[in-house]
């Protein structure tokens, strides 16, 4: 029996999936999180998107065991946060929103303190701190007090304290707020590099960032999931139809219009501009008109000046799913 328990603990080390199962969190009358369920697989970086007050931070705090939910449970690697929060905390590295730090402490003292709390062996602490200083690029600042650091370096200290015990799970609440573009790219690269063999949840309101860093995107609104999938899938979901801008040379405007409309894969053709032979072409659901348009032009002896797919921007999807 005890052997089995030991075995299950070993199993934890192999897979560290986060399973959020129907959690509800109520503040007064309002549901901050409403019967939310999702799953994050080991090795996956999940981007958590949503307008302010959507319940991102609440969900993340619940996973780390800092908040207790009213309903539902969360398991990390099979361990329940309701039943055994102490055990879960050992496996999670957490960067809270606004990155609170003991500003009166020097960087390496602070990191050593956190390492101790996380149960890193005494003889390994120095090595782990040195490793974190190296990985997070804190070498020049390591003896300074945290209050003397710039915002970018503070953010790195926050990330270093989250990573100090080499956790299997990383929860990062807006890791790049307040950084300049160079720093954002650096931190993003760091997260990507570290995130390969870990389970990562990252919240942000910068859409481009989530798209660049994350394998999968979860958009929540009013405590509920409104979109879930890769950036590509979300685009397809939001606009199932392909849209092309087509410009055709040496043809009569109305001929071209008619020819385009007769193509079987085309649903709708619009004049994109009054003067030129510029059209916007909407394809039928799940069909592509690129090749038929090309073939049609060849058959008529026309030439294509332009054939541009119009991408739905993630911003549009975000706006669409989170409007009231």
């Amino acid at each position: 029996m005890k052997f089995l328990i030991l075995l299950s603990h070993l199993n934890i080390l192999l897979t560290m999936d986060i399973v959020v199962d129907g959690i509800t969190k109520t503040y007064g009358q309002q549901n901050a999180v409403d019967n939310l369920s999702f799953r994050v697989k080991t090795g996956e970086i999940l981007g958590f998107l949503g307008p302010n007050g959507a319940g991102k931070t609440t969900t993340m705090k619940a996973i780390t065991g800092f908040l207790v939910t009213n309903k539902g449970d969360i398991t990390v690697g099979g361990i329940s946060v309701n039943e055994n929060p102490g055990e879960i905390k050992k496996h999670i590295g957490y960067l809270p929103e606004h990155n609170p730090l003991y500003t009166e402490m020097p960087v390496i003292d602070f990191l050593a303190f956190i390492a101790g709390l996380q149960g890193v062996n005494k003889q390994d602490i120095e090595e782990r701190v040195a490793e974190m200083v190296r990985v997070c690029g804190l070498r020049t600042e390591k003896h300074k007090k945290i209050r003397e650091l710039s915002k970018g370096f503070r953010q790195r200290v926050g990330l270093a304290q989250a990573l100090i015990h080499d956790p299997e799970v990383l929860i990062l609440d807006e890791p790049t707020t307040g950084l300049d573009p160079n720093q954002i790219i650096e931190i993003r690269e760091l997260i990507k590099r570290i995130g390969r063999e870990k389970t990562v949840i990252l919240s942000s309101h910068i859409l481009a960032e989530v798209e660049a860093t994350c394998d999968r995107i979860l958009i929540i609104h009013n405590g509920k999931i409104v979109a879930n999938g890769t950036a590509e899938e979300l685009r397809r979901q939001a606009r199932g139809n392909e849209m092309l801008i087509v410009e055709i040379g040496n043809s009569e405007r109305n001929d071209a219009y008619r020819a385009l409309s007769y193509l079987p894969s085309v649903e709708l053709v619009d004049f994109a501009d009054q003067s030129d032979n510029l059209f916007s072409v909407h394809s039928q659901y799940r069909q592509s008109s690129v090749k038929p348009i090309f073939d049609m032009c060849v058959a008529n002896g026309w030439f294509l000046k332009q054939l541009t797919p119009v991408e739905t921007k993630l911003e549009d999807i975000f706006r669409e799913v989170t409007k009231n």
């Binding site: 029996m1 055990e87 809270p96 609170p100 003991y102 009166e104 402490m105 956190i114 101790g116 709390l117």
Partner: protein, 264 residues
Amino acid sequence: MNLRGEIYSEIAVSILFHFQKILIMKQIMMITRRELQSVFDSLIAYIMIVVFLALSGLFTWLYGSDIFYVNQASLQSFFSIAFWTLFFFIPALTMKQIAEESRSGTIEILLTKPVSEWQVLWGKFLATLILIGIALLLTLPYYFTVWSLGPVDHGAVWTGYLGLLLMSSAYISIGIFASSLTKNQIVAFLLTLFIGIFFHLIFGFLAAQMSGLTGTVFNYLSLSTHYDSITRGVIDSKDLIYFISIIFLGIISAEAILVKRTVN
């Protein structure tokens, strides 16, 4: 499963359990160390010790009902002045302990590590108690000086120090409780004084005004009653139970408030 296997696994589990207990103590000590580091780094500790020594030294040796005025080789005058200086110093030390962590959000860093509210609170309690202990240790020269002046009741001196430590522990615990109620240090400071003054003065005052059962109850609640009886050289279990109850009541209430904050 055979018996031997059962026994071995039983032993393994008990060792693990024991190890976990050591770990709990270890984490309390880590919190304590950081806390002490922070007060010594920020000069608060030095200022507190110097002012405490200056004030208690002044009233023990030079001014008011000092040792020469009383004309007895006893530290009674020191104990009665320390009773008041510590009453004001302790809230100043405890006021930031939880309030500042809540305000800056670092409490979230702590409580998302494998550390319980209980360990955090005891770690902070211990840090302040150690600081008070250091301040009291530095008053030992008073004791040796008085000793050289005449015959001293050594028992009364040691119980006097014990009384100061117990009283300090009680006010530290109340201070930590007050600090956990608010994000504002000043509010925490005033609240500690407000709660403290009941134990320090008002209960004793009420006990003197009333007779019968209510008088006895207030007399028992008054901290100075118990402090006086200990500094007089009598260690009664009744007094010890009183102090230990206040200490635990304060820390347990503070824990309840911290836990409630995460539930809400």
